[in-house]
Point group: C2
Chain length 380, copies 2
C-alpha cells in the first residue's frame, strides 16, 4: 500500500511480536501517558465508567478509557466542557481518553436521523431537540473535549446491507474522513480513521487502502457489533488485521468477549473497547477464570467462595458469592459497583496476560486455556 512520506509523530512503537501470529506488544504514547498494547479500554460513555470512580480505575491499572463525543455534546454540552477546560479535568482523570465520534450512536437511532453529504441531522435521545453535526463539527467537539485520541465521524451501516449501499456509505465515510483530517488542528491529539464497508471484504480492503493514504495516526475497524454473525466478523478481522499498517495502532471498535479479544489480538489488533464487562456486571453476569456465571443463580445463596478464586481483585479478595448474590437480588447499588470492578479487572488482567504471553511466545496456550474454560462454560 502506498503511504505518504512526510513525517508523522512517532506516537506508537512495537516492542515485540508473537512468532506464531500477527500479535504484537506495543506502546502508544498519549498526551496523558503511555499505554501498553494490546489494551482494553473501559467504556465511559457520558464521562464516567458506570459505577466506577476514577480512583478505582487507576487502582485496577486502567491506562486509557473511552468516552463518547455524541453523548457529551448533548450533555453536559460543548460550552460546559470548554469552560471546564476539557474532559480530563472535568472528570478528574489524568490518564488516556479516546473519544468515539458518535457515528455508531447516531446511526443506531435510525428513526431519529437524516444523513446528508454535509453531515448528519439527528434528534437528541434525551429531549428530542434537533441537531446537525458535520464531520468538522465532530472534530471540533473532540478538540474541545481534549481527548488523547479522536475518531473521525463515519457512517456505520446496519447489518445486513446490500453492496450498493455499503459502497456508497463507505465512500461517504471516506470523504468525511478526509474532511476530518483536514480540519484537525490539535497536535497533542491523535486522530484515527475508521475502516467501513460492511461485511464485503473487497470494500473493506478498499476503505483501508484509501484511509492509509490519508495518513491517520491510527486506524480502526468500525461497523462491527451491529448484529452480524460472529464467524463473519472473525473472517473479516483475520483478513484485515494483518493488512493494516504495521506501524500504526489498530483498533477494533466495540468488540468483544474474552475469546474475541484473544482471537483478534492474533490478527494483529492492538486496541479494544466494549460495553460487555460493564453492562454484564450490572446484569449480574460475571467473568471468571472458569467461564461466565450469573450471580443471580440460587446455587450461590450460601457459597462462601470468592467469585473467582483465581482472581486477585479487591472484590474477590473480600466478598463471597453468597453476598454478591444477595446484593444483586436485593437491587443494592453496591452490586453494580462490586460486579463492575471485578469484570473490568478481569478484562484488564486478561490483557496483561495477553501482553506477557506475546512477549514469552505462549499466546496460543493462553488462548487454548481460556477457550477450554469458556467453551465448557457455554456447554454447562
Amino acid at each position: 500500500m502506498s503511504r505518504p512520506l512526510h513525517p508523522r509523530q512517532d506516537s506508537f512503537r512495537i516492542e515485540c511480536k508473537d512468532p506464531c501470529s500477527h500479535a504484537r506488544c506495543g506502546v502508544l504514547e498519549t498526551a496523558h501517558g503511555a499505554v501498553e498494547t494490546p489494551v482494553f479500554m473501559p467504556v465511559g460513555t457520558a464521562g464516567t465508567v458506570k459505577a466506577m470512580s476514577p480512583g478505582a480505575l487507576e487502582e485496577m491499572g486502567s491506562r486509557i478509557i473511552l468516552a463518547n463525543a455524541y453523548h457529551l455534546y448533548l450533555r453536559p454540552g460543548e460550552a460546559v466542557l470548554e469552560r471546564m477546560a476539557g474532559l480530563h479535568r472535568y472528570m478528574s482523570w489524568n490518564r488516556g481518553i479516546l473519544t468515539d465520534s458518535g457515528g455508531y450512536q447516531v446511526f443506531s437511532h435510525r428513526r431519529l436521523r437524516t444523513i446528508r453529504e454535509d453531515g448528519v441531522e439527528f434528534r437528541s435521545h434525551l429531549d428530542g431537540s434537533l441537531h446537525f453535526l458535520s464531520p468538522e463539527d465532530v472534530v471540533r467537539i473532540q478538540e474541545t473535549l481534549g481527548s488523547d485520541i479522536a475518531m473521525v465521524l463515519d457512517e456505520c451501516t446496519p447489518y445486513p446491507v446490500n453492496r450498493e449501499r455499503a459502497r456508497s456509505s463507505m465512500d461517504r465515510s471516506l470523504r468525511w474522513a478526509r474532511r476530518s483530517k483536514d480540519r484537525h488542528r490539535n497536535r497533542g491529539q491523535l486522530l484515527f480513521g475508521i475502516v467501513q464497508g460492511s461485511m464485503y471484504p473487497d470494500l473493506r480492503r478498499e476503505s483501508l487502502e484509501r484511509l492509509v493514504e490519508m495518513d491517520f495516526q491510527g486506524l480502526a475497524l468500525g461497523g462491527f457489533s451491529v448484529g452480524e454473525p460472529k464467524p463473519l466478523m472473525y473472517d473479516l478481522v483475520q483478513e484485515l488485521g494483518p493488512r493494516m499498517p504495521a506501524d500504526l495502532p489498530r483498533y477494533l471498535m466495540g468488540v468483544g468477549t474474552p475469546l474475541d479479544l484473544l482471537f483478534c489480538v492474533r490478527q494483529g489488533i492492538d486496541m479494544f473497547d466494549c460495553v460487555l464487562p460493564t453492562r454484564n456486571a450490572r446484569n449480574g453476569t460475571l467473568f471468571t477464570s472458569r467461564g461466565r456465571l450469573n450471580i443471580r443463580n440460587a446455587t450461590y445463596r450460601t457459597q462462601e467462595d470468592a467469585l473467582d478464586p483465581e482472581c486477585a481483585c479487591r472484590v474477590c479478595r473480600r466478598f463471597s458469592r453468597a453476598y454478591l448474590r444477595h446484593l444483586h437480588v436485593s437491587g443494592e447499588i453496591l452490586s453494580p459497583i462490586l460486579n463492575t470492578y471485578h469484570n473490568l479487572y478481569f478484562y484488564l488482567d486478561l490483557m496483561r496476560k495477553i501482553r506477557q504471553s506475546i512477549a514469552s511466545g505462549s499466546l496460543l496456550e493462553l488462548e487454548n486455556h481460556y477457550r477450554d474454560q469458556y467453551r465448557a462454560a457455554v456447554r454447562r
Copy 2:
C-alpha cells in the same frame, strides 16, 4: 431511679463530660472493637450501606453501622445468615454492627400487619408472604445475625396517637422488652431496651423507669421521626436524655439533621442513626460546612469548586461541583457513590468535632457555628 445491683458487663465508660451541658464522651466496647461516642451509625438496612463498600466505610472512619433484623430476616433469611456464620462475615465487615429489631419497619407498613400480645403478624413487603415474629423470635434472629448490639422488639406508635393507645402500646412494649431480656443468651451481644410512650412525657418517664429496672446494657429513645413536630421531639429529648442512666449508652433512634445531633448530644445522647445523609445523597442533597445544597441546581453547571471546600474527604479533594452535577443529572451510578461518601464523611466528621468540642469545652461554640450555617442556608 432504682437499679438492680447485680453486676453487668462494663461495656461502656465515660471519658469526659461537657461542663455546660449533659454531653459526654464515652467508649462503647463491642465484640468488634471500641466505638467512641457520641457516634453516628450509617444505616445499612439490608446488610449494605447503600452505595458504600465496607472498605469505603473503614476509610472514612466508621466504627459501627446499623442493619435491620426485619429486612435481613426476609432476605436473605435466617437460614442463609446462620449458614454464613452471621452478618459480619457475610458482608465482610469486621467492625461494630447494631441491629434494629424491625419494630419501626413492621409498624410503618400499617395495612400489612396485626399486632397481638404474643407478637406481630405481617406480610412481607417483598412478596406478600405471611410471617409471625414474637419478641423472642426477634432476639433469636439477632443472635443468629451476631450483631454487637441487639434491640428489643417494640411497638412503634404512629403520630399522633391518643393517650390511651399510647399507654397500652407502651405497656405492651415493656412486656415484650422483659420477654426479650429473658430470652437473650448471647453474652457477647449487648441488648438495648427502647423507651416508648409517644409524645406524652409522663408515659415516656414511666417507660424509662421500668426499662431501667430490667437492667439493659443500653437504652434507646424510640418512636421519634414518625412525623411529629420537631419542637416536640426536642422537648422530650431534653426531658428524657438527662434522666437516662448516666452509666449506660443512650441511643436516639432515627434522628436526625446536623443541628438535631448537636442539640441532642447536649441532652446527653450518645448514639444516633439516620437515613438522612445516605438518602439525601441519592436525591442530590448534600451537607456542607456552609449548609445544604442541591447538586441538581443549574448554578453548579460550571463550578469548579469542591462540593465543600472545607471538607477533607476523597470526593471534595478530587471532584468539582460541575462534575457531581453532571453525574446526578445524567443518572449515573457514580453519583450516589460520591454523594453518599461525602454525606457520610460529613456526618462522621461532625461527630469527631463534637467529641473534640466536648473534650475541650467548646461544644456550644461548635453548635452555634453550625447553626449559623444551617439557619442561613435555610433562609437562602
